[in-house]
Symmetry: C2
Subunit: 215 residues, 2 copies
């Protein structure tokens, strides 16, 4: 108990400090949820006075919305990047289902679910949620369209907007099943298998082509 406690935080450049704050908010959101993002909570994690956090952010709602976007956009971009490295739409769709359902991103899922509720009282967050859902849907739609164009998928008698609609549908299924895994861990073992089968039917892919094991 001597000198480990420094009275005043070392002075840093605005950019650096701002980065620390958003990073701390990110960590809190992933570990304890978006609603755990408070001025004092973030401040103590950075090792700084609460007023400083307020100084770098217009208000807490904005910090929450920004943190949501940071977390989710990073995930989207990461997955989209991995998709680009795969040879074709079948592999991409299979990889998408497998990756999103493997339970390794439960913390991000929890952020999604909480954002749906918090968006009710945080207008900025609500906008970000819609944006990020659109981004995910766009990624999925692209894969579906490529598959149809290449003859790997057959969406049947779907109208023009079929791929878009299908992408929303698949996204909704993934959301629901991952959210479910948030609450019911051991409930179902082969979520991925069933989902793959369902999606195969929807996009007219060859049976088994989207199975996680085949990815």
């Amino acid at each position: 108990m001597s000198s480990t406690t420094q009275k005043r935080a070392t002075r840093k450049s605005p950019a650096e400090r701002a980065a620390e704050i958003t990073e701390a908010a990110r960590g809190i959101a992933l570990e304890q949820g978006l609603s755990a993002i408070t001025l004092r909570n973030v401040a103590s994690r950075v090792g700084v006075a609460s007023g400083l956090v307020a100084h770098y952010q217009p208000n807490v709602d904005a910090l929450v919305a920004g943190t949501f976007t940071a977390i989710v956009a990073a995930e989207t971009e990461e997955v989209a990047g991995m998709l680009a490295a795969l040879p074709g739409p079948v592999e991409r769709l299979a990889f998408l289902l497998g990756t999103l359902m493997d339970g390794s991103r439960l913390d991000v899922t929890a952020v999604w679910v909480e954002a749906w509720t918090l968006g009710r009282r945080n207008e900025a967050l609500a906008g970000c949620v819609r944006e990020q859902m659109d981004a995910w849907q766009a990624v999925l739609q692209r894969v579906v369209e490529d598959g149809v164009a290449g003859g790997h998928f057959d969406t049947g008698d779907l109208e023009a907007g079929g791929a878009a609609s299908l992408a929303w549908q698949i996204l909704g299924m993934i959301d629901g099943l991952t959210a479910q895994s948030l609450v019911r861990w051991g409930g179902v073992s082969d979520r991925g298998t069933h989902l793959a089968r369902a999606v195969e039917g929807m996009v007219g892919a060859v049976r088994g082509s989207l199975q996680p094991s085949a990815g």
Copy 2:
């Protein structure tokens, strides 16, 4: 401004007052969300002092959990009752999909989604959520099993627990899509159609037999 304001609430029997309180909590949850259930909020809705609400409930967490169960169990029982009146499993599954996806229960959906998040900090609520998910799954599983036994459905090479697993899967899809409709209203017009097609593929039902229009 004369006598419309009564200073003291009329004295009522414990059972009656308790019912008023749970009913008020229910209304608040449906209109403003589970997190809007506070002692003062409920009390003012009943027209009573905050202390009285606390007197009728062990704590707020219990009231929230109980309110969740009341809302969701009522829905489950209502739908289950309607199912019983239908002739067979195909009609029942079609009705289930159509009813749950028609957007007439967005308030209940919002309660579900919020409960998933709140369950993280409210142990009693978490237990209720699991209970109610089990109840829904049981209803669905029953329909699927009946359909398989009657030869209407064909779950293919599924192992013994196939119907249970399938029921979880379908439930997850419904949850995800309804939750999605909570945020993205006009996004997709034919959610029901796509879901019906997906489920048809999963349970091996005749194509079009689960379409909402055919329900």
